[in-house]
């Protein structure tokens, strides 16, 4: 049973000159925590707005809880919870007034669904008389989530809920999502942070309006086609440049403490050859080891693959 279905959805702006969503098809199961992962401008917000009936697609079909996003928009608006990427509550109303307002808007009361938001709301309750505009980033997100949940939606759309939020609050936020999932709410969430992808049950990697891959995070990683090596030396920026000049290097990306590389020839001989090459370039303390790819590695690999495919 699918709660969200997109079938060849296409959305363009500026009279077809800018393709934001390019034939995207995906489906989200009932009760699933689904992540839409991609950088800024990949088309995530457009997809969310099409699903929340705020935008009309230029092509394809989409449905939420079995209702068509174009024809049955009124029904969908009754049943979904939506949290836009930007903080979209009334800044000049207090925390409590905001929550009350949205509860009434959906024809319910705070009391009625208090159990659903309780765990989140108790964290911001000490500030309930404070104006929403004066809250910290993390608290704003919690309030926005409360407001999106207050009518007990069947499907929850969260557009980049953790953007601009500190690491601790981000972690808390994902824990809240897991608890909500256990209540049976289908959650579709988008994020530009690749490290958050593993917190979802299934993810869709999206770039320039095209889906690169849809799978569980573990499978996305398992499908990484080659061995991935991590390499470091004392001179990291020089290392990156020198690595790219090496013949057998397929890809090479800076990745925190290490550079992640793939080799066209993974034999021990080539690895040894690489080390000698780097030593000849005055690199010291060279560490080369094989490593498990992250979602980001997979994303970059898929992206390069697609670019290669396009240019051919």
């Amino acid at each position: 049973m699918h709660d969200v279905v997109l079938d060849k959805i296409r959305k363009t702006y500026n009279k077809n000159s800018l393709v934001a969503v390019d034939n995207v098809s995906l489906s989200v199961n009932k009760g699933e925590l689904f992540g839409l992962i991609g950088p800024d401008g990949a088309g995530k917000t457009s997809i969310f707005r099409i699903l929340t009936t705020l935008l009309l697609p230029d092509g394809g079909n989409a449905s939420v809880s079995g209702y068509d996003v174009v024809k049955d928009y009124k029904i969908i608006r009754n049943h979904v919870g939506y949290m836009p990427g930007r903080f979209s509550l009334y800044q000049d109303l207090s925390v409590e007034e905001n929550l009350n307002f949205f509860a009434t808007l959906f024809g319910t009361t705070i009391k009625e669904n208090y159990d659903l938001i309780k765990e989140i709301y108790v964290q911001i309750e000490p500030f309930k008389t404070r104006r929403a505009g004066k809250l910290s980033g993390g608290m704003k997100q919690k309030l926005a989530l409360c407001c999106a949940l207050i009518h007990r939606p069947t499907v929850l759309f969260l557009d980049e809920p953790t953007t601009g939020v500190d690491t601790v609050s981000r972690k808390e936020f994902w824990e809240m999502l897991k608890r909500l999932k256990s209540q049976g709410i289908t959650i579709m969430v988008s994020t530009p942070y690749m490290d958050e992808a593993t917190l979802c049950e299934r993810i869709a990697l999206i770039q320039s309006g095209k889906i690169l891959s849809i799978n569980t995070p573990a499978n996305v990683i398992a499908q990484f086609p080659q061995n991935l090596f991590a390499i470091k030396s004392t001179n990291m920026s020089g290392l990156l440049k020198d690595l790219r000049d090496f013949g057998n290097i397929e890809s090479c990306n800076a990745f925190g403490e290490y550079h992640h590389i793939t080799l066209s020839d993974e034999s021990d001989a080539t690895q040894h050859e690489l080390k000698t090459y780097l030593e000849s370039k005055q690199h010291e303390n060279i560490v080369l080891q094989s490593t498990t790819p992250t979602i980001e590695d997979c994303f970059i690999q898929l992206m390069n693959n697609q670019d290669g495919g396009n240019s051919n």
């Binding site: 707005r49 929340t52 009936t53 705020l54 935008l55 009309l56 928009y73 009124k74 608006r77 009754n78 979904v80 939506y82 836009p84 930007r86 903080f87 979209s88 509550l89 009334y90 800044q91 000049d92 109303l93 007034e97 009350n100 307002f101 949205f102 009434t104 808007l105 959906f106 024809g107 407001c147």
Partner: protein
Amino acid sequence: MKQFLTFVRKEFYHVFRDSKTMLMLFGLPIAQITLFGFALTNEIKDSKIVICDYAKDEASQQITYKLAASNNFSIEESLLSHQQIEEAFKAGKIKLAVVFPVNFTYDLLHLNTAQVQLIADAADPNTGSTLTTYATSIIRDYQQDVLQSKSLPLSITTEIRMLYNPELKGVTNFVPGVMALVLMLVCVLMTSVSIVKEKEMGTMEVLLVSPFNPFLVILSKAVPYFALSLINLSVILLLSVFLLDMPINGSVVLLFAESSLLIVTSLALGLLISNSTASQQTAMLLSLMGLLVPTMLFTGFMFPLENMPMPLQVIANLVPAKWYYIIVKSIMIKGLGFSSIWKETLILVGMTTFLLVVSFKKFKIRLG
């Protein structure tokens, strides 16, 4: 219904919590009405004049008293000769000189005709001619007093009556104009800005993804501004009646009903503007430029419409405030009833319906 009331309450919170909106809403009308009422009038008050009285007899004294008693003049000094008059004018202190010849009373009573010389500073021709008119009417007034006590000689005199506004007060012209201006400005500006603000802050996005009918969003925005405008109207009327001595000769109920109509027209216009703009600045600019200027120019309270070239007179017909101005003048000053203003009312109703239909058609139930 409960949703609607909550929404209206929220809208009041927005207004009362924003000092800028409050200032705009209540400061602007009070400032405008006092400005137009006191400072910007075309009446001439307390002009300095000199009297050069060669006669110094009963009639000349009495006319001098009458001049002194008038609000329009304040007698600077009494002079003895013509030379001094010229000096006084050159010093720039006085605007008008009144000269009584010798034997003034004798001539008046025995020859039945006497002359008074009025010398005005015509550097500003309007002021000059207005002042001589004032003085002439005071002298004529005296003449009639004299005639009543004496046996009537045969004479034809023209009698001029200024209907509805015998004292030629400027206030009567300005107050209805300011009412139109303030109501238009406040309603159009406030509604358009408040709807665009929801778009700009992203709250419109959340509102749209809710069971709340988008049309109710509009309606619940209109209600608070409608109520606040009526309060505004009352403040303007109270100020005009008690501070500026403006009469309300007609029905107050009718006046409020017609004003409510203009408020709805303005709300519809504000709605239309908010549907066509994406930022508060554009909405504000459009409301101010698109309304303030045409309302000032084409309502007729600053510049008489009759003097405008034909194309401009045609454009003036499109300005709702013009019709409202006519209505308000008819009710407040002439004291007329609905039967005399039904045509103007019908035109306003037509405009309102048109604006409402267009803006509801243009209202977007989605983004973009």
